[in-house]
């Protein structure tokens, strides 16, 4: 219940932001933070709640991005239709990956490496075909307006992403209170114990990777409308995969608000890095690598874990105050 209130509050507070903030820079900043939160939410579903750490979520993101771009360019499909089909296509890629990987019981680092390899294979494929624009990439025509999911103002994209992040927050809230979520977390904690209680780990993980892939794919579809361009490195390169996993790890794995918190923090840090060191290529990845090591070493529960600690301190303080009154 408290979580539901927090979700509604979060959306209500951010809703008027484009009307209050006049600076384009800050609206874009917020929009991108929301975009990475959305991508992180997709990863968190499988990695945070299911315990399956993917190093290749670009596989789903890129599939969604290419799907919508190709359908728009070659078949003149509407961007909203592309968005839906991107989610379906990436969900199918997720299901296929899951079927292969989980069927053979690959877990932990093996799972991570296979997802990484699959993303790489797709990157090479996207580099070699005509209809994906090969190495040149695809330019999506500019057609401003709501109908093509390209908005005339910066506020439009902001609200679209806020709606998507909000929907994902609600989905995660549902997950925490549903049988599927209970089973997913049981599989994460102890697969054998889960099986002994009638949970089918294969089925559970397959559903999770399908949903996670679909959400990441829909993020790819939004990305294409936002930047009007996609190429194999953006779509299937490691940068997107790293962002997807870093955001929930920084914010708090397997928590509702972890990815949102992580995306804002990561994005702020990246911005500061850019101000301090300029736009040197690859610098972001170096920074992210350092961050990841620091998080794993010092804050394994993410920023959200930090919040819990301070909650703990808060109640401790209250306890002492109560003691003084008594």
């Amino acid at each position: 219940m408290r979580n539901l209130t927090a979700i509604i509050l979060f959306c209500l507070v951010l809703l008027p932001a484009p009307l209050l903030i006049q600076s384009d820079f800050w609206i874009t900043w917020l929009t991108l933070a929301l975009f990475y939160a959305y991508l992180g939410q997709a990863w968190n579903l499988l990695g945070g709640y299911g315990g399956q750490f993917s190093f290749g979520h670009a596989l789903f993101f890129g599939t969604g991005a290419y799907c919508t771009a190709i359908l728009q360019i070659h078949f003149g499909l509407n961007a909203w239709g592309g968005f839906v089909l991107a989610a379906i296509a990436a969900g199918l890629v997720g299901a296929g990956t899951g079927w292969l990987v989980f069927r053979y019981g690959l877990r932990g680092s093996y799972f991570a490496l296979v997802t990484l390899a699959f993303a790489e294979v797709f990157r090479i494929l996207a580099n070699s075909f005509e209809f994906t624009g090969a190495g040149v990439g695809l330019l999506v025509p500019l057609q401003p307006g709501f109908a093509q999911m390209q908005f005339e103002t910066k506020a439009g994209f902001f609200w679209l992403l806020l709606a998507l992040v909000g929907a994902c927050l609600l989905f995660t809230y549902w997950l925490q209170n549903a049988r599927f979520g209970a089973r997913l977390m049981a599989v994460r904690e102890n697969e054998d114990a889960a099986r002994a209680l009638g949970v089918d780990p294969f089925d559970t993980k397959l559903r999770a990777i399908t949903a996670s892939g679909a959400i990441a794919g829909s993020a790819g579809a939004v990305y294409v409308q936002l930047f009007l361009y996609i190429d194999p490195n953006i779509a299937y390169g490691p940068a997107m995969s790293v962002e997807a996993l870093l955001v929930p790890i920084i914010g708090g794995l397997g928590t509702i608000f972890g990815p949102v918190l992580g995306a804002f923090a990561l994005h702020a840090i990246a911005e500061i890095g850019r101000l301090a060191f300029g736009d040197a290529p690859g610098l972001n990845l170096v920074l992210y690598g350092i961050l990841l090591v620091l998080m794993v070493l010092f804050l394994p529960n993410g920023l959200f874990g930090l919040g819990k600690v301070s909650f703990g301190l808060g109640s401790l303080r209250r306890l002492f105050k109560g003691g003084a009154h008594a």
Binding site: A186, R188, N190, V199
Partner: protein, 250 residues
Amino acid sequence: MLEVSRLSKRFGGLVATNDVSFTIQEGSISALIGPNGAGKTTIFAQISGFHRPDAGDIRFNGRSLVGLTPEKICLLGIARTFQIVQPFAGLNVRENIAVGAHLRRAGRRAALEHAEAIAHRVGLGPQLDKPAAALTVAGRKRLELAKALATDPKLLLLDEVMAGLNPAEIDEIIPIIRGIRQSGVTILLIEHVMRAVMNLSDHAWVLNNGALIASGTPSQIAANPQVIEAYLGHGAAARMQAQIQEARHA
């Protein structure tokens, strides 16, 4: 209810289960006893689908379980506990038990209510909100029992749920297990605590080196000094007689 016939399982050169046959009657409490390494847990693993037997058959209400997955067997109504407890460490006690409760309850509220009822039944009521990782040994054993019980099994396989408990804790858990049987659940237990075996079970089998070497009521087995000397170690017969006396007087 459960018919195990000519069950065999090897691990490399080791024969862990050697041509084992036994039948469990509905509504009974039966015990499987024998020294460490005798192969008791391996039999549970085969009944519950975690290990596939090399030979033989396991029938539950006439249906063969060989080749079924653990989750399918659980759905059919057989739940097991693990000798080495397997809590969902990151979840609290209520959530742990609810995973089992969800097997036959789709709704979260129904599952949580069932989990709470089960927790009270096994004496975990006060610890519902505790993280599973924070429980004592006795608490973890109870949690193991509660999770399995929450799946509404017809047959419950309990693997040394009293190991590591002190006598007072054992005294608390014996009536709980008896209560579970009274509610209509058939029970097969592996136990080293002879007092519990004597107190609870209608029938017992003795396993050694993978093979059954004796069967009967607990007192029949306990009265068989040959069996005891040979398979529970030197001097065990005398120890056991003393325990039986103690159990009778209790």
